[in-house]
């Protein structure tokens, strides 16, 4: 039986969602794109003027921008592979039969790190990693390791942010991969287990193909998350010491909210949006083809 849906009904159901998307997503984006073509600083509005692509030229020739982008890429390059490796390990463990009560508890505890507000995670890190009074250095002291200057040393601060990011987002990766594993048809997995006892072979030839969509989703989401990573490092180190943890989102916030240069910050944001879209398309093309 074919049901006809009137145009009015379609509009009534879709209209509010489209209007909301326009209001909170598309219009602000277009406004930001328009403002990125202007010299638009909140503290000198009288001098506001159209400058074409000057803001983009300023961003692309700014060493601080490239340094922040490089730092963000390094964070991504270190943290995400570790998150995927650890997440896969956790997912495979939870995917095995048995110990159902323990696994339920583990699943629940996996939600906690990513359910914690980013800013709170950063503040916790600041307190826990304090060189003199922090609990981490206290525990290191118990095993004879001297207190480490986590926040005041550029390299240590960067490493601390990487570790904190791994702590917070490994559970997310694990849960996505666990969901991916549940899409493997049981009869195929059982048949494979009759053929081989090698877990590695089953992972490579049976489970991994089903995990590809999950991995692509993880890459896209973690890329977007890393590019907009702000709250945690901001509350933890404020981008310092020096510029050691000034990731791209912190640089943009500094430009827009502290220097009030909205035009320049908008240009930086639009470039980041373009980069995110580009990387997302790249992941889909490359990874879907290879496996």
């Amino acid at each position: 039986m074919q049901t006809r849906v009137s145009r009015l009904t379609l509009l009534a159901f879709l209209g509010p969602a489209v209007a909301a998307l326009l209001a909170v997503g598309i219009v602000p984006l277009l406004y930001a794109a328009w403002k990125s073509l202007h010299d638009f600083n909140l503290t000198r509005l009288a001098q506001q003027r159209f400058v074409g692509l000057d803001n983009y030229a300023a961003v692309l020739t700014d060493a601080s921008f490239w340094a922040a982008l490089g730092r963000t890429a390094l964070l991504f390059g270190i943290a995400v592979p570790v998150q995927v490796a650890l997440g896969l390990l956790i997912a495979l463990t939870l995917h095995r039969p048995g110990l159902s009560a323990f696994k339920a508890l583990t699943r629940l505890s996996l939600v906690l790190p990513m359910a914690t507000t980013y800013a709170v995670v950063g503040l916790l890190a600041q307190v826990m990693l304090n060189q003199k009074y922090g609990v981490v250095n206290q525990m290191l002291g118990w095993i004879g390791i001297d207190a480490i200057n986590f926040i005041g040393d550029p390299t240590n601060a960067f490493v601390a942010v990487v570790l904190w990011d791994i702590w917070q987002w490994t559970p997310f990766v694990a849960l996505i991969l666990l969901a991916g594993l549940s899409t493997v048809p049981p009869e195929i997995e059982e048949a494979a287990r009759l053929e081989t006892k090698s877990d590695r072979a089953i992972l490579r030839h049976v489970q991994l193909p089903y995990l590809v969509p999950s991995l692509v989703a993880i890459l896209i989401l973690r890329t977007a998350d890393t590019l907009k990573l702000f709250d945690m490092p901001f509350t933890m180190t404020r981008g310092g010491p020096g510029s050691a943890t000034e990731f791209i989102a912190i640089l943009i916030e500094r430009t827009g909210n502290r220097q009030f240069d909205i035009g320049l910050a908008a240009a930086q944001s639009i470039l980041m949006l373009a980069l995110t879209i580009l990387l997302a398309r790249l992941y889909i093309r490359v990874f879907y083809r290879e496996v």
Partner: protein, 445 residues
């Protein structure tokens, strides 16, 4: 500009004196009567001076029928919150102005000169007595380009807070009088057994610019800008001061670039360092047994002198009426500002933990005995530099540059000379774009 402002303060004082006769019957209650029921909005910070004002608020509200709605924000958010509110024509009726925001607020027309209210006999308290404020403080915190906009509120001078017991243990009977003594004598003697002579708050935010970088420019004869508004950071004096800061790090805790106010105050309060240079506002924290273990050992002195004199750090705020407020809100806002900074309330404000900028409040020797920071504060406010940090509208951009390269300098990622040059070049680019070099803007800071 300083002379002009002081002249305007004196003129206001004279005007107040002349009108004292006919306005003798002026009362806050009568002045506020037309504005009863008005609500005014202001941002406050989570600092002792604001807690003191909040405790005093019910008195004002009961006397006037005006409601003061305050929102407490962290310092780092206060500028952004206000700029966005003023640009968007928001609710704020009072501007809370840091020393370095006055040029920005005044040039954008976001605040009203006090003359608007002091010239209105219905609103001007005959006891306003502008000459009673420390002239340096009115000049630095409340005035821009010869016009006074704000009345000083929650003002600080940098002071030397020290652990007298620690100094005595090391054989010192007095705190250091000069920075050279800190480097040559106090530093080596007090840095041992996991404890340090000195902690300089240097975190990459306004603390780096105001409390760390600028603190070692002025006492050594340096400055941010020369008379032509070109960078003066590579002058021999500025370089000497910045290099001195670098060398002094040998006597500071490791990771000092991650220390903000809370960390250095805590380091002194826990007996980990012998002295710090901090704002007068932290006196109440260091004197409170709940937050300090050195209450009986706490000493306060003016900051050490450099080759060019003391020139201590200058920080704090003024309150000004926001021009976006309507007429009734402006009047109500002025009455509140005038009342909370008044001579009559200064003693009580001090008792509650605030630091008033009224000279008369510090004249009582009994108070100086109770609040041991008073003599040092009064001495410091005699010889400060209003442009300790330039107060023009471009400072929010320039401070970010100073913060970045100031910390990189301390970390050894760039040399003092390279860092100063990098700041200078970027600072001049900002000033050029703003129009200081082609005559579009006056060379006011």
């Amino acid at each position: 500009m300083k002379t002009t402002t002081q002249a305007s303060v004196l003129a206001l004082a004279a005007a107040s004196a002349l009108t004292a006769g006919p306005a003798a019957a002026w009362t806050l209650e009568e002045a506020a009567a037309p504005y009863a029921g008005t609500e005014i909005e202001v941002l406050f910070l989570d600092r002792p001076g604001y807690a003191a004002a909040i405790e005093m608020l019910p008195e004002f509200e009961a006397a006037t029928g005006i409601t003061v709605n305050y929102t407490t924000v962290p310092y780092e958010n206060a500028l952004g919150e206000q700029v966005r509110d003023f640009v968007a024509g928001g609710d704020l009726d009072i501007a809370l102005i840091d020393l370095v925001w006055i040029g920005n607020f005044a040039e954008n027309g976001w605040i009203v000169p006090i003359e608007t209210f002091t010239s209105d006999p219905a609103l001007a308290d005959p006891d306003l007595d502008m000459a009673d404020f420390f002239p340096l403080v009115v000049d630095a915190f409340g005035s821009w380009n010869g016009v006074t906009y704000g009345l000083p509120f929650d003002n600080y001078s940098g002071l030397l807070f020290y652990n007298r017991c620690m100094l005595e243990e090391a054989g010192f009977t007095e705190p250091p009088a000069t920075w050279q003594e800190v480097m040559d004598t106090y530093g080596p003697a007090l840095t041992k057994d996991g404890r340090y002579a000195f902690a300089l708050q240097s975190k990459r935010n306004e603390t780096q610019s105001a409390d760390s970088f600028a603190r070692f420019l002025w006492p050594f004869g340096g400055s941010f800008l020369n008379a032509e508004f070109r960078s003066n950071l590579n002058s021999p004096e500025s370089q000497a001061g910045l290099q001195f800061r670098q060398d002094l790090m040998a006597f500071m805790p490791e990771g000092i670039v991650a220390y903000d106010h809370a960390e250095v105050v805590n380091a002194l309060a826990q007996g980990d360092v012998a002295f710090i240079t901090e704002w007068s506002a932290f006196y109440s924290t260091l004197k409170d047994p709940e937050t300090s273990t050195i209450v009986d050992c706490l000493g306060v002195a003016p900051e050490p002198e450099g080759p060019a004199g003391r020139k201590p750090a200058l920080g704090g705020f003024s309150l000004a009426v926001a021009s976006q407020a309507d007429e009734a809100e402006q009047a109500a806002a002025w009455l509140f500002i005038q009342w909370v900074t008044s001579k009559a309330n200064a003693g009580r404000y001090l008792e509650l933990g605030g630091v008033p900028a009224r000279q008369s409040a510090y004249a009582d020797p009994a108070l100086a005995e109770r609040f041991t920071f008073i003599p040092a504060l009064v001495e410091s406010w005699q010889e400060g530099v209003p442009e300790f940090r330039p107060r023009f509208a471009e400072w929010p951009t320039i401070t970010e540059i100073v913060q970045e390269y100031g910390t990189r300098m301390m970390l050894g990622e760039v040399t003092v000379e390279e860092g100063a040059r990098a700041i200078g070049e970027r600072m001049e680019a900002v000033l050029e774009e703003a129009g200081y070099y082609d005559g579009r803007k006056p060379l006011a800071q």
